[in-house]
């Protein structure tokens, strides 16, 4: 009796070791580097439309001199309506559970690493918009244990697979810009007007700005750019003749926390 039980445990032990070793091997073998993204783009079923806007690396230039409180409001409203972002603060007063993809914040909060001793009156007065930077070296992608968040190789956008995300929130700890939000409760309860053209999230997953990947695929500009009254310009950072490259050639622009080496794709003209 005792002996057979020990034998069983022995066998169980070996098989567990085998499984552990096997899964480690699978982990080490190089697979598609970006997982979901590559599978999608490599699949002939998913062709992009003719009218889709394409770029090697999407980027955004924000001209802070043109930003006003009204523009900030319009951009956030357009973005949050487009993407079914729940308004937990307005509906339940739940500041803790706030979800925001783009939002205005004082310059001293957006650029904590800059010298803030004698900033200009304009920067003291005006809040500037912050959002996901779609980094070229995104730390959130590095830390995600399921590759639910990934950098799309075709255009450099950092995107999310809401159906794969396990809700561990490692990406939120990894993001140095506070750009990500978590669904602490069911978002359906706090969406005023549902946009049927964009996905709904469930409770328990992370979400963030997707650079309006769904609008780019239809040949439309990102919602915030459209609502920005010319303060925001988007385009291909790798194309030297693009509008944003012309802007960057003409004016000195800065990115948030450049010292971290994340290489943001969102630039600010001060």
């Amino acid at each position: 009796m005792e002996n057979s039980r020990r034998k069983f445990l022995k066998t169980a032990g070996y098989s567990v070791l085998g499984v552990a070793a096997g899964s480690m091997l699978i982990g080490i073998t190089p697979r598609s580097s970006t997982g979901a993204a590559e599978q999608a783009s490599g699949n002939p079923e998913y062709k992009s439309r003719d009218e889709a806007l394409k770029a090697e690396r999407w980027g955004l230039v924000i001209d802070t001199r043109k930003i006003t409180a009204r523009i900030n409001r319009n951009m956030q409203r357009a973005c949050h309506r487009e993407h079914n972002v729940p308004d937990f603060v307005g509906k339940f007063g739940a500041k803790n559970h706030e979800i925001k993809w783009i939002w205005p914040t004082p310059f001293k909060n957006a650029f904590i690493e800059q010298d803030l001793q004698y900033i200009s009156d304009h920067l003291k007065r005006t809040e500037i918009p912050v959002l996901c930077n779609h980094c070229n070296h995104p730390p959130c992608v590095r830390v995600c244990p399921t590759r639910a968040t990934f950098k799309r190789e075709s255009d450099g956008l950092v995107l999310m697979d809401y159906h794969r995300c396990i809700g561990c929130r490692f990406c939120m700890a990894g993001c140095p810009y506070g750009a990500r939000s978590f669904n602490y409760r069911d978002p359906r309860e706090a969406i005023e007007e549902l946009n049927p053209d964009f996905t709904l999230r469930t409770k328990g997953v992370v979400e963030k700005c997707n650079f309006c990947a769904e609008r780019l695929a239809r040949g439309e500009a990102p919602a915030c750019v459209e609502a920005s009254n010319g303060a925001l310009t988007f385009g291909d950072l790798e194309d030297s003749s693009s509008d944003i490259r012309k802007l960057l050639a003409e004016y000195h622009a800065i990115t948030r926390k450049a010292e971290l080496g994340t290489l943001p794709s969102v630039f600010y003209i001060i």
């Binding site: 559970h97 995300c165 328990g204 971290l260």
Partner: protein, 385 residues
């Protein structure tokens, strides 16, 4: 051997029943969390990890501390630890079990847990944490159980166990190192971005874990016939003493680098923890009592006369266990998230359901620990005759 866990005194049954009740209540609250979402906890947009992940981090240390018995006993043939080693291994089993449960209750979508295995991602530290935690769990189950059953039969442990025992030593170090790497590799989180995080984790683990084992041995001696003896306790007390001093030293190094360099991004988190920031400082009294407890314990233990007095030793162990618990279980995670990347201060206070769910997980761990220790005591009594 399992039958040893099935019969016991009235006290034993009461303990098991009590733990089952706590587990049941915790589970009911977990069902509520599953239904509503993690919004029933105190976590927010800025402090995205809270009590659960903090307990996980603390318990990884308790689990890793088994190596402080395994290493002297098996590598240095330190015979005095013979009676205690299996206790350390079974403590590790229950601690790792709690770690895994704390990760699961922290997930927003726990039913997708297997995605971590379906899409293995070597560049994520969480993937490696899963690998080493599970590996360490199974190693300790296999080793502890087989060594104990060999003892019951009065035969030497089987030869194939030796390599597994040696393997468990680097595994113990790895679970706490990889857990530290979860935090210390994140750009823009100045509080955790320090190379001494992993060494500090290990030092405080080798203090708190063995301190807990000493307390458990006292409890076993009081309630059962099982006495591990004076000598191994004294050796462990020495390990606890030096590990506490080492962790305090590493803490001092961190404080020096942070406050001599005066880099705000690194200072602000520690200012929040120990002095408060923007008028908010919920953790200030906790952090100071933690520091005070650890320093007092180190002073009490460093003198041989203090260490040899079992009342002083017990008190010091309680100080070290709770001091480290506050440090890792309360300060470490919140401190990293406050202030947030935009330098705003949003505090985190755990909610009642969150604490009850945590108690439920602890009760599961203590239930497993009780059953395993009951088996150990039963076997030791039987062998002694």
């Amino acid at each position: 051997m399992l039958e040893k866990a099935l019969s016991g005194s009235k006290t034993y049954y009461t303990l098991v029943l009590g733990l089952l009740v706590i587990i049941g209540i915790g589970f009911l609250f977990y069902l509520q969390q599953l239904d509503f979402g993690l919004g029933i906890t105190g976590m927010n947009r800025d402090v995205t990890w809270g009590f659960y992940i903090a307990q996980f981090t603390f318990l990884v240390g308790v689990a890793a501390s088994a190596v402080m018995l395994v290493l002297p006993y098996y590598l240095h043939d330190y015979k005095e630890f013979g009676k205690m080693t299996v206790l350390g291994e079974f403590l590790a089993v229950s601690a790792v079990l709690m770690c895994l449960l704390f990760i699961i209750v922290d997930l927003g979508q726990p039913q997708r847990l297997l995605n971590v295995i379906l899409y293995p991602t070597p560049h994520s530290m969480l993937f490696w944490d899963m690998v080493v935690l599970n590996g360490y769990l199974f190693l300790n189950i296999i080793i502890g159980w087989n060594v104990l059953s060999a003892e019951k039969e009065g035969v030497p442990p089987e030869k194939w166990l030796k390599p597994l025992i040696y393997l468990s030593i680097p595994f113990a170090v790895s679970i706490h190192t990889v857990t530290a790497f979860l935090y210390s590799g994140l750009p823009g989180r100045g509080f955790w971005l320090t190379a001494v995080l992993a060494p500090k984790f290990l030092a405080s683990a080798f203090a708190a874990g063995p301190a807990f084992l000493i307390l458990l041995s006292f409890i076993l001696r009081k309630f059962t016939n099982f006495d591990v003896g004076k000598k191994p306790i004294q050796t462990l007390a020495m390990i606890v003493c030096y590990a506490t001093i080492a962790s305090l030293f590493l803490f001092f190094c961190e404080i020096f680098v942070t406050f001599y360099s005066q880099i705000p991004e690194h200072m602000d988190h520690k200012l929040y923890l120990f002095w408060g920031l923007d008028g908010k400082g919920a953790l200030v009294p906790w952090m100071w009592s933690s520091l005070l407890m650890l320093i007092t314990a180190a002073v009490l233990l460093v003198f041989p006369s203090g260490r040899k007095n079992e009342y002083v030793l017990g008190l010091a162990c309680i100080f070290i266990f709770f001091g480290s618990w506050i440090d890792k279980g309360l300060g470490l995670i919140s401190g990293g998230f406050i202030p947030n990347p935009l330098h705003e201060v949003n505090e985190y206070i755990p909610t009642v359901p969150e604490v009850i769910i945590s108690l439920g997980v602890y009760a599961i761990g203590f239930l497993v620990l009780t059953l395993l220790f009951k088996i150990v005591v039963g076997v030791k009594e039987e062998v002694r005759g």
